[in-house]
Symmetry: C2
Amino acid sequence: MTRVRDLSEEQILERIVPLLPRGSATLLGPGDDAAVLAAPDGRFVVSTDVLVEDRHFRTRWSTGYDVGRRAAAQNLADIAAMGARPTGLVTSLVVPGDTELDWVTGLARGLADGCAPVGAGAVGGDLSGGPCLVVSITVHGDLEGRSPVLRSGARPGDVVAHAGVRGWSAAGLALLEAGLVRVPLPAVPLEVTDGVLLEDAWERLVAAYLRPDPPLAAGVAAAQADATSMLDLSDGLLRDAGRVARASGVRLDLDAGAFAKDRDALRSAARAVAAATGLGDPGWGPGNADIDGLVDQWVWAGGEDHGLLATFPADTRLPEGWTAVGQVHEAGPAGPVVTIAGQVQDVGPGWDHFRA
Amino acid sequence: MTRVRDLSEEQILERIVPLLPRGSATLLGPGDDAAVLAAPDGRFVVSTDVLVEDRHFRTRWSTGYDVGRRAAAQNLADIAAMGARPTGLVTSLVVPGDTELDWVTGLARGLADGCAPVGAGAVGGDLSGGPCLVVSITVHGDLEGRSPVLRSGARPGDVVAHAGVRGWSAAGLALLEAGLVRVPLPAVPLEVTDGVLLEDAWERLVAAYLRPDPPLAAGVAAAQADATSMLDLSDGLLRDAGRVARASGVRLDLDAGAFAKDRDALRSAARAVAAATGLGDPGWGPGNADIDGLVDQWVWAGGEDHGLLATFPADTRLPEGWTAVGQVHEAGPAGPVVTIAGQVQDVGPGWDHFRA
């Protein structure tokens, strides 16, 4: 078994670079002091995200391939959330010397598979030793002449709409924590779509956690349909909806029944998790058998689904992949808040990586 | 004393973001899913570099300010080495919870001071907890209509030229390791220029290590003067020159006397280091009092000076900041190598972060 410390940095790069996707916007790929990407629009969108071992992933659950898929997905989702088309990314990778080379090449394959649906290239990177795995990706996108879709553009009267999965990632994490799904998942990518979820398709939920598959095309489609605001759902639906409410100075009212189909589908996983763990976490709800409370927790507060939340003018015909889930109202006496059927929701705190 | 674990991620960002430079290319700064940077040329240059605690810096020597300056400098140097003008950067930061908030705000100030000479903006970032400090920066640049200057363009007959300091960083590190200079250095930036180095200006050498000050303007000037190849000197002059030789398929012959002034200036530091340490490192040369060998080691093989090495057509009037240091020849029987006065040099191995 080859470990990274058995090879020089240049030997490792020789194994990784051929696995990386080139991308149609790549004018100069890896190998020089910097890469060159096309920006035909005269501007480009840029975002960065870092994944740290034992904070964002655990190697006993996630393969290198999984982490590559996830790193690509959550970065690409930030570009989609601006209404841009992803063009290329660079990666900084910190790897302990005893890491297996296969983990690192798996990461490259996961990045490549994550980029494939949008044709983005992996154009450069840096590699260092260190005490734990760190994957930092910076991703770029092309606005194709459109204005970026910000968080601050929601207007009273707009429709609130959602694209992607809801609560799947949190359910998948709970299934893993309860030991109910065997990992690693097969290397062949599981298809995770925004379609009907079979009641017993727990592997799909775990895949949604390990290898999120954001609705990237829905971001560009929303921008083309004149979405007034949009963001990537990384910290939970309510918390991220709260960011739109505050940035736009409005109240977002979500329909309690909007996610009924998701809750039905997640109920079997919730029953299994509740049975396996005894519902020990007080965050899950008031009662020991509060299955609906657990499902609600996943759907409304679960993080890392990387769906998109957007607002559209009321008369918009929603593009493919989008579902209406609420309405935008003037901020009332409670200020710019999120409500469900008119009831003010507590949208914080969510993730805080310094207290983990 | 405030530590980062005493604050939420959003509270930390509230302290950092106001310290960051905006930059004239910034169309949309921090706060949304992604930033937007101008790329008037229809392309942009992009590079990423990661600094890991106890690999690339030690907190007992480097303040947060120093690490910010260094991170900015080494990234901006990669953009300059393409002949591009830096426009903006994003930062991923991994911070242990017990890190002082002042370290993090110092980092932001160091980034700002590092970006100031070129007017680049700090447009976004990500923040996470983790077991050690990791600073990953991705930087972007504008080619202003020029072709990128690659490593592969050196041609027989070209002049080899250098800009920046030579051996200062390695000398500074040796002074620190020998305990001969007191750190932290004052927060007010020390001016480190490519001028005459006073014999006893050891703080200047230490500053060159802690807070390198690459000749960024010289990169654009070289491209405007039709440099045929260029790269950033991060791994030592000989090793990096070897990269140009191999990429271009040529022999680079360097003048033994080209750096005589540097060697004179570094000699007092070498004497002090030799006296303090007994010259215990066999890499320093054959003799126990081989001061010249130690100085040569710093000048020819010392890393992290972040000067620029370029080749120019023979009849070029070298732009400001550049000094002729050799000639490009056809690759002879020894292949694409680096020679000093015709003698083939061993250009490897250099840094290898997995064996550190």
